[in-house]
């Protein structure tokens, strides 16, 4: 059963539409919405991902497809057939591109296509029950293959981003650290130089002073 549906632009993670909330039975929908938003953010940060993917999170699965720089994401129960979920997303994609295709790039405000939620709502209802004739037919449709779609865990996916962030952070720290090291080394070098030649210089200075004084007195 479909719990959550979101559509966002991949380039900047801007949400474009979202299914109407009727998560009456769902107490933790906010948490999963947050995760979905993180996913979008990851995508917009340029981590290249497959255009179709399933991600497991808690008792649910996120399924998404990316097409035409738009990401269509839904969250379903574990038991919900993957095949149906992706067909659902395909339906959304087709309709969304048909209706709003030309304006996707120019959308400037969040939820610019919120009107699409009525379609999401309607389509969702069609996919609610897996045992209807229509859905059974879709399940048996051999033409639509979903086996090769990768399944990963949400921690992993979100973790990749985190790890990459960490690495880049570490590397940038490395550069700044090297710079500090170089500065410090130069400083040390100078100090060593001073330590080495200072006594000699002082002695010579004293001698010269003495000479000068002698000349002056006598």
């Amino acid at each position: 059963m479909v719990k959550l549906t979101m559509i966002a632009r991949v380039t900047d993670g801007l949400p474009l539409a979202e299914g109407l909330d009727d998560g009456r039975d769902q107490k933790d929908s906010d948490f999963y919405k947050q995760q979905a938003k993180l996913l979008f953010k990851n995508l917009s940060n340029g981590h290249h991902e497959a255009s179709r993917m399933s991600i497991e999170t808690g008792p649910y699965f996120f399924h998404y497809i990316i097409e035409g720089r738009v990401c269509y994401l839904t969250m379903c129960d574990r038991s919900y057939p993957k095949k149906l979920a992706f067909q659902y997303l395909e339906d959304l994609k087709n309709e969304f591109e048909r209706v709003n295709g030309s304006q996707i790039e120019t959308a400037a405000r969040p939820y610019a296509f919120i009107k699409f939620d009525t379609f999401i709502q309607k389509t969702k209802k069609l996919y609610l029950d897996t045992r209807t004739q229509r859905n059974l037919a879709k399940l048996n449709d051999e033409l639509y293959e979903v086996h090769q779609i990768m399944t990963r865990n949400v921690k992993e996916v979100l973790g990749v981003g985190e790890k990459l962030d960490q690495v880049s952070e570490m590397s940038s720290r490395l550069t700044s650290d090297t710079r500090i090291y170089a500065d410090k080394a130069k400083d040390l070098n100078r100090q060593a130089f001073i330590r080495k030649y200072a006594p000699v210089a002082i002695v010579i200075g004293v001698v010269i002073m003495l000479f000068w004084a002698k000349n002056k007195i006598w």
Binding site: R24, A108, K115, T118
Partner: protein, 1026 residues
């Protein structure tokens, strides 16, 4: 024209006109004219003679006019050189009302006006009157034949008796010399076309002196005799010119103001022992032009938002606590965030895109026209907290030499006081909600019998096309009596299914969804439901009403989405949780300390429910129809805390009230609404908003949660001073309303305004805004009435008024020796009347017997949300005389409607009057009105139709009726938010006339309340006693 009343006394200065216009010709006009007088150039006011006590009514004959007319030019001619007719008037507003209404003498004057101009300006006249305060120069110059006067009889009595000086005028050309000893002779060239100079002395004469008491001043000779005249209230002009201390920002009105009279005064002293109270009733100030928006403020601060969005009670901020405590009136603001612009002006929309909304880091103020840029445009300084913020790269723009951004004019947020920002995702906790409407309809027997169901069903059906938010709109219905009836609107059904839930203790939803459905998908089901609704319950005889459980069910249905919940309730809720009992008929409670308990919700259930509703973005509108008590006080609290509205239709009958309900319900459903909104008002350092008044739920200390808000709702708030504002020049205010529009956009509407900080109390009075003060006072009073007796609420109001006038008096009384007058600032001239009107308003008037408890509470709820203009019209309704208008051509009707003072004396038994308080039209038929006219309008003969309460006004096929309906339509078009239901009452028809009309004539004395004149006297006495 009313003959001036005998003992009208002139206010100290000409300025103090009270009643422009209303008081009509002879008497008051000078007053009215007074105001313009002060301004240079407006000398014309001289024209209308006012009477001095003891002097017979003015001549008013034509003959006096002539000489008068002739005379002035002569005199003036003397002074003036070039006749630039209007030029001199330039600075002064052209004389208005008073002139129009003025009596004959004016005519001549009008012609004479060109010469006057120069006078006003010309200093020379002053020379001669060395004794005269300079400011009076113009006056002195005014009356041409004064020369003779000077020589003439000193006191008024003498005026009448001693015409001789007057007779001189024939020789006008020369007579000037006596007075004009000092006048510039050379210019004295042009004698006017003097006609005959009859001795119309009296008429003419009284006019002059009375119209400006300074008169004596200009002619010292006069002064002593004029004992009855109070000394001119004006001190040396210098004291005035200093006063417009606008120490802060640009004092655009400063110069003008300094010339204008500072205060007005009203003579209330009477000769000891005389019966006449000494007040000219006709001369009292009356707000017959309705609300005055402080347009001057807007002109002075063009970067401010328009005053229709934000009005301060005084457009100044006192610099110190001591000043606040001397102000006495409430200090605060009235905010009307979604006010409709009369000319359909759109609020500019700004999208910052990737830069994000530009706000101050510390105080979260939005960027606004008062923000200043620094560091070559890389930083901006917040005008509220003075923090220096970075300008995001995308928003950067270079500055010109004066530190102004080059793109200021292209960016509305930097050049306009009102803008809307497109809110990015950070401002959303969820995607924008679809507008949704859920109807909770009582179908018990009284609703069926009154025809309510039919009207409601038809109205909703007719509005389906116009509901907001197409195509996302959600709609649902729940009907209830002793059980709850759910209706399934699944789009695949052809007929709605009804499911009855009888378990009131543990309400559950019989269906998981399809109770609140998308209107587009289920349109046919909804329509067939509405068609069958009246019949469905046609035979229902159930008298119970389970409102509480129905509310719970509604909450379960719409909790996820939010939206608007419209409750149609026609009896007292009698079953389940939230059951209420009859308590309104408890006479014994009145006048005791328990009185107010009747006006607060009885059952905490309603407030708790309201809190839940607000949390889930549900706004509740209550439509109540009971003919018996149905505890509006409790039901209304649902609307009060959810940003809703209470509509009350006592004894609803579809035939009579149907139109009103239809109009108001469709307005409620189709007006532009802001959903799931929150509002916050920020202000600069040193001041803080403390209390808020209106319909909302306060979240945290200063965040107003408004599940739905629209253009019919205004909010008021009080301000307190936290620290002394020593260094600040101006205090800034910013109202921000974050909302979802019906089209599903998240927007932030921002209104910014600045007000100067002042250290001078008189400046605060000068900038006072009566409309805002009255709004705020009325709301405070209504709120107080929930915790106090009506009587003490009224006393508190009176006390505030007295204190503030007393304080004002103290400012001037010593300086100007105005013993026996009530003085008040020009800006507050209507305040005493409005406060009297608040005390007599439906919500606060009288006691138990005067207004039914439900009506009182409903009026209280209305007063809490009305914007200033409508509130003023509600407490001081407009009264028009129609019988003459009805015979006019339809095209001229609008212009010829004149408001009349609300007093029985204005009602002529041969007249037809219309009273419009914004909620109802009251048609009053005089006893002597020609029966044909009545028949034409009513469409029936009065004799055959004894019960006027059942009559309906329809357009009949005759001239009068068509015109009458045009008038009603014209008045309704001025304000769409309410539909005024016409009710007809005949003169002398008791008791209806009493509670419909007489109680609305706020200037008259009613049982236990004072008339306007008594009120003024009372206030005056109290301001004098220390």
């Amino acid at each position: 024209m009313h003959p001036p009343t005998g003992n009208e006394r002139l206010p100290g200065r000409p300025v103090s006109g009270f009643v422009p216009g209303s008081a009509a010709a002879a008497g008051p006009p000078p007053f009215a004219a007074g105001a313009p007088l002060m301004r240079p150039g407006a000398a014309a006011p001289f024209a209308p003679p006012t009477q001095q006590p003891g002097v017979p009514p003015p001549l008013a004959g034509a003959s006096p006019a002539a000489p008068f007319g002739a005379a002035p030019p002569a005199a003036m001619g003397g002074y003036r050189g070039p006749p630039p007719p209007q030029g001199p008037f330039g600075t002064g507003p052209p004389p208005q009302g008073p002139f129009a209404t003025a009596s004959p003498p004016q005519g001549p004057f009008a012609t004479a006006s060109p010469p006057q101009g120069p006078f006003a300006k010309a200093p020379p006249p002053q020379g001669p009157f060395a004794a005269a305060p300079p400011s009076q120069g113009p006056f002195a110059a005014g009356p041409p034949s004064q020369g003779p006067f000077a020589a003439g009889p000193p006191s008024q009595g003498p005026f009448a008796t001693a015409p001789p000086p007057f007779r001189h005028p024939p020789s006008l050309g020369q007579p000037q010399s006596p007075t004009g000893s000092g006048m510039p002779a050379p210019t004295y060239v042009r004698p006017p076309p003097v006609q005959s100079q009859p001795p119309p002395v009296q008429g003419y004469y009284p006019g002059v002196p009375s119209s400006n008491p300074q008169f004596p001043m200009s002619r010292p000779a006069y002064q002593p005799p004029m004992q009855t005249m109070p000394p001119p209230p004006m001190g040396p002009p210098s004291s005035y010119s200093n006063q417009p201390a606008y120490p802060t920002s640009g004092p655009p009105m400063g110069t003008l103001q300094s010339l204008v009279e500072d205060f007005q005064s009203l003579s209330v002293s009477s000769a000891p022992g005389s019966l006449d109270p000494g007040v000219d009733v006709k001369g009292l100030p009356r707000p017959l032009d309705g609300d005055e928006e402080p347009a001057k403020v807007f002109e002075a601060y063009p970067l401010n938002c328009h005053p229709r969005y934000f009005r301060l009670t005084t457009h100044t901020i006192p610099a110190s606590q001591s000043l606040v405590s001397r102000w006495h009136l409430p200090l605060g603001a009235v905010v009307h965030p979604l006010a409709e612009s009369p000319d359909g002006e759109e609020v500019p929309v700004v999208n910052f895109g990737s830069a994000g909304v530009i706000r101050c880091r510390r105080c979260r103020t939005y960027i606004n026209p008062y923000a200043t840029f620094a560091d070559a445009g890389r930083k901006w300084r917040c005008n509220l907290c003075t923090l220096l913020n970075d300008v995001p790269g995308e928003y950067f723009c270079a500055l010109d030499a004066s530190g102004r951004r080059y793109d200021t004019d292209q960016r509305p947020e930097l050049s306009k006081g009102t803008v809307e920002f497109v809110a990015p995702t950070e401002y959303m906790v969820r995607p924008p909600m679809p507008p949704s409407y859920f109807f909770l309809i009582d179908v018990s027997v009284s609703a069926v019998r009154s025809g309510l169901l039919e009207v409601v069903a038809k109205t909703i059906k007719s509005c389906l096309d116009d509901l907001l938010g197409f195509p996302r709109t959600q709609i649902g219905f729940l009907t209830f009596d002793s059980t709850l009836h759910f209706h399934n609107f699944k789009s695949s059904l052809s007929q709605p299914q009804m499911m009855v839930v009888a378990d009131l203790d543990d309400v559950f939803l019989p269906l998981p969804d399809d109770l609140l459905v998308n209107l587009v998908d289920s349109r046919h089901v909804v329509e067939s439901f509405l068609d069958s609704l009246p019949n469905m319950f046609h035979d229902n005889v159930n008298v119970e009403s389970a409102l509480g459980p129905a509310l719970k069910a509604a909450f379960m249905v719409m909790g996820q989405i939010g939206g608007k919940l419209l409750v149609f309730q026609s009896t007292l809720p009698s079953l389940g949780i939230g059951r209420l009992r009859l308590r309104g008929d408890d006479v014994r409670a009145y006048g005791t300390d328990k009185e107010h308990i009747l006006r607060v919700p009885e059952d905490p259930f309603y407030k708790q429910m309201a809190a839940e509703f607000t949390k889930n973005q549900i706004a509740v509108d209550i439509f109540s129809f009971s003919d018996k008590y149905c505890d509006i006080a409790s039901l209304g609290s649902l609307a009060k805390y959810t940003g809703g509205q209470v509509y009350h239709y006592p004894s609803f009958q579809a035939t009579t009230h149907g139109e009103k309900l239809k109009h108001e319900l469709s307005r409620d459903l189709t007006r532009e609404t802001a959903w799931e909104s929150v509002m916050r008002i920020r202000c600069g350092k040193g001041v803080r908003f403390t209390t808020y008044h209106g319909h909302f739920m306060l979240r945290s200390t200063d965040l107003l949660a408004l599940p739905a808000v629209d253009s019919d709702k205004a909010f008021a708030m009080q301000l307190s001073l936290e620290e002394t504002l020593m260094t600040t020049q101006a205090v800034y205010f910013q109202v921000a309303l974050l909302y979802t529009s019906s089209s599903g956009e998240r927007r932030i509407r921002v209104h910014t305004a600045a007000a100067p900080v002042v250290t001078d109390l008189s400046e605060m009075y000068r900038q006072a805004d009566t409309g805002a003060i009255v709004s705020l006072l009325a709301r405070i009073a209504v709120e107080n009435s929930l915790s106090d007796k009506l009587d003490s609420v009224r006393q508190q109001l009176q006390l505030k008024l007295v204190r503030s006038l007393k304080e004002y008096r103290n400012l001037y009384v010593v300086q100007h020796r105005i013993g026996g007058r009530l003085i008040y600032p020009e800006s507050l001239r209507y305040l005493p009347l409005y406060i009297l009107a608040i005390c007599k308003s439906l919500a606060l008037r009288g006691g138990y017997a005067d207004v039914s408890l439900d009506e009182r509470c409903a009026a209280g709820f209305s007063m809490m949300i009305l914007p200033a203009r409508r509130l003023l019209n509600f407490i001081y309704p407009s009264l028009y005389r129609l019988d003459e208008v009805l015979t006019m051509e339809p095209g001229r009707i609008d212009g010829s409607l004149k408001r009349l003072p609300l007093t029985l004396q204005c009602l002529d038994t041969a007249g037809l009057y219309l009273l419009d308080d914004g909620f109802t039209f009251l048609v009053w038929l005089g006893r002597m009105l020609p029966p044909e006219l009545v028949n034409d309008i009513l469409g029936v003969s009065l004799a055959n139709f004894p019960d006027l309460s059942k009559i309906q006004l329809r357009e009949c096929n005759n001239y009068h009726s068509r015109n009458f309906m045009t008038v009603l339509r014209t008045l309704r078009e001025k304000d769409f938010s309410c539909y005024q239901l016409p009710r007809v009452v005949r003169q002398g028809e008791q008791p209806r006339e009493g509670f419909l009309l007489l109680s609305n004539l706020v200037e008259d004395q009613m049982a236990g309340t004072s008339s306007y004149m008594d009120w003024i006297l009372q206030i005056h006495r109290q301001t004098q006693s220390s």
